[in-house]
Subunit: 130 residues, 2 copies
């Protein structure tokens, strides 16, 4: 497991949230667990772009952070389920609000993201076309 060399800033609430929610897929994983997709294989089908390796890593972090609980059923083939802890549950309204904001503004967001990528690629002339 990777060990941080730079100690994180933990001054205010926003810093702290950043530490536990930072991760390319974490918010979506929490959301899908909330929706009842509890098994790793189910989660991976819901989020095909994530690899099993990274899914495991991020779930492990969220388990350490007490956002989810892992239950291993001693059956064959293996069965594992993740559920939200009470603590993780308190994040759901926030995640819902964030997703809603994103959905409401999705056209604009898509446009500015593509525009920025075009600028970064040195093709700002395309920025007007997207």
């Amino acid at each position: 497991m990777y060990v941080k060399k730079i100690v994180p800033t933990l001054n205010c609430g926003l810093d702290l949230v950043g530490e536990v929610l930072y991760g390319k897929w974490k918010i979506r994983i929490l959301w899908f667990i909330h929706q009842g997709h509890l098994r790793p294989s189910e989660l991976q089908r819901k989020i095909p772009d994530i690899t099993r390796r990274v899914l495991n890593v991020q779930l492990k972090e969220m388990e350490d952070h007490e956002l989810v609980t892992k239950t291993i059923y001693p059956v064959m083939p293996p069965k594992v389920e993740y559920t939200l802890t009470d603590f993780g549950q308190t994040l759901i309204p926030l995640i819902g609000a964030i997703g809603l904001w994103g959905d409401e503004h999705q056209d604009r967001l898509r446009r500015v993201i593509l525009k920025h990528n075009a600028i970064a690629a040195g093709k700002p002339e395309n920025a007007e076309l997207v």
Copy 2:
């Protein structure tokens, strides 16, 4: 400027928000601008851990993403101010809610973050002490 090699997933609202809010300091920068700290030098004093270089980069991205507007005053010494756009403004209630959640749970968050870091460092025995 860095050009992405992996095209981002932009399926749902959560993906889109991630694209524009991902960045170690972005949420805090937005929050401080909201609080009236408009000049880069002010922002840097509020967030000493960020370097001017990175502050500029993240502000530039948020400008491309239409969350903030940059105003250059043609005076000497130079004066620059960033303000929230109407679009950026709509994020403020969300950021406020996130910060509030973090503040409310800050003791627990601090504890689990330190615990996770101890586990990652291979010293889980310390995990009970933090």
